[in-house]
């Protein structure tokens, strides 16, 4: 038995693989995930939302270390989870990797990397997406 639900996650590949956001053509606010229209400019923004690829760079706003995980993540604990403010404005929730748990701090600069998010058991699909690692030079 698998989750099925493959199209639901396939639709978001551009967001999960490449942080494809969009920007309101009227007020320039950036939205991730992309929105059909800007909540502030409303109908003026319809048809004026422009696709924008984010850099993946951001700052940790807050974090936790998950010890009791959702079903799909059993076997990965403990793992750090953070809310990250991306440089372009939007915020995301994502795991932190390649960092010692003690080194994770509010204000830490991070950048997006490509990892397996979860697999649907041994026979289901594998879903890839973003996690964030410390933004040291080059690595």
């Amino acid at each position: 038995m698998t989750d099925g639900a493959v199209p639901r996650f396939w639709r978001e590949i551009p967001q999960r693989y490449n942080l494809i956001a969009n920007q309101c053509g009227v007020c320039n606010k950036v939205y991730f995930p992309p929105r059909e229209s800007c909540p502030y400019c409303r109908r003026k923004s319809m048809g004026k939302m422009v696709q924008k690829k984010l850099s993946g760079k951001g700052t940790i706003l807050t974090y936790t270390i998950i010890y009791i995980p959702p079903d799909h993540f059993i076997g990965q604990v403990p793992y750090p989870l953070a809310i990250i403010q991306l440089d372009e404005g939007p915020k995301v929730t994502a795991q932190i990797v390649d960092a010692k748990i003690d080194d994770i701090k509010i204000g830490m600069k991070v950048k997006a990397t490509f990892r397996k998010i979860h697999e649907d058991g041994y026979i289901g699909a594998i879903h890839y997406g973003y996690k964030f690692k410390p933004a040291e030079v080059n690595l």
Binding site: D98, F114, Y128
Partner: protein, 349 residues
């Protein structure tokens, strides 16, 4: 065969390492004898959220970032591995999406044990040379598995490299390539099985050594060269001993082989092995340097390449991505129980 060559390259080695002494302890073996016999001190281990797709994406993104190539101009991607995440559903499409090269692109996955990646290089060369594509990306990557307690466990590691092949702004010309292939069952893994089987000592003389030495001889005959004509040589490296031995058999020196010999400190990255070795050489090569590359894949075959580094290597923005030496240095050790959990050893085959 001028014109076609490497335009950019990138590599990725996962951070975690396990020492061969740690594995030896788990199995009650003498660590000195293991390290001495195999010539492997430690190997790389992928974390549970890394696989051949994620490693290939890292390597491909590294290669793209070092060049000025528009991903939409990449006409083909071939990923060679013996541990693709899916038996059916290509790794190449995941890489294509992740670097923004889709949808007008040719993609397939390759398998030929440890030489699947170099076979991909040959394919990209042909597509570029025939003007069917502008750039092609050849990737060799693995997160190979060895049965717990088997001698292969000390070597089977994880890593990968990507080479962008083209005609424009070539940083290293591939002067020629040739291959030597026979049906030799030295090492294999049946469909649906988790761990490979191998022929023990049969993997040596009739397999690794025969194919590499014959292929190398053939290439040097074609090119009218001798070992002394090369600054660097890199061979497939299943352990720390075989490449040194085969180098000597052909006539290469330790000096020539040193830069590309990484197995002692990252293990055997299978389809990534020869390719990461080549990446390590390109990290330090100068214009005019000549490189001799010979891969080996069980089953069995060898691909050899005669490469000359061009002036354009100075224009490559190599520091936009980590050098192989930096990837090697960036490490964190784990113990055998963590390794068993990461590598999913606790579940039955």
């Amino acid at each position: 065969m001028a014109d076609v060559g490497i335009v950019s390259y990138g590599a990725h080695i996962p951070r975690f390492r396990i020492k061969s002494s740690e594995i030896a302890h788990a199995w009650g073996k003498d660590p000195e004898i293991i390290a001495g016999g195999l010539g492997i001190i430690e190997k790389s281990v992928p974390s549970p959220d890394q696989d051949v797709a994620t490693i290939s994406v890292e390597a491909a993104r590294a290669a793209i970032s070092r060049s000025n190539i528009n991903p939409q101009d990449v006409g083909a991607i071939y990923v060679g591995s013996e541990s693709h995440p899916y038996a059916v559903k290509p790794t190449g499409t995941i890489v294509g999406e992740a670097i923004g090269a889709t949808p007008v692109i040719k993609v397939a996955d390759y398998e030929f044990a440890c030489k699947a990646g170099t076979a991909a290089i040959q394919t990209c060369m042909a597509l570029v040379k025939s003007d069917m594509i502008r750039y092609g990306i050849a990737i060799g990557a693995d997160t190979s598995q060895a049965a717990p307690g088997d001698p292969l466990e000390y070597a089977a590691s994880a890593g990968g490299a990507a080479f962008i092949i083209g005609k424009e702004n070539v940083i290293a010309n591939i002067n020629n390539t040739c291959s030597y292939t026979t049906d030799t069952p030295d090492f294999w893994r049946r469909e649906g099985r988790k761990y490979p089987s191998h022929g023990g000592r049969f993997t040596g003389a009739p397999a690794y050594f025969k194919h590499i030495t014959n292929n190398a001889k053939n290439l040097m005959e074609l090119q009218n060269t001798k070992p002394e004509d090369y600054n660097f040589a890199v061979f497939h490296q299943p352990n720390g001993k075989f490449p040194m031995k085969v180098a000597k058999m052909i006539g290469f020196t330790t000096e020539q082989v040193k830069q590309g010999l990484l197995c002692p400190i990252i293990g055997n990255t299978y389809s990534g092995a020869t390719m990461i070795g080549l990446a390590s050489i390109l990290d330090v090569a100068k214009p005019g340097d000549r490189i001799f590359v010979t891969s080996y894949g069980s089953g069995a075959g060898s691909d050899a390449f005669d490469i000359t580094v061009t002036d354009k290597i100075k224009d490559l923005q190599v520091h936009n991505a980590p050098l192989v030496s930096q990837l090697i240095e960036s490490k964190e050790y784990i113990d055998y129980s963590t390794y068993a959990q990461f590598r999913d050893l606790l579940y039955e085959d």
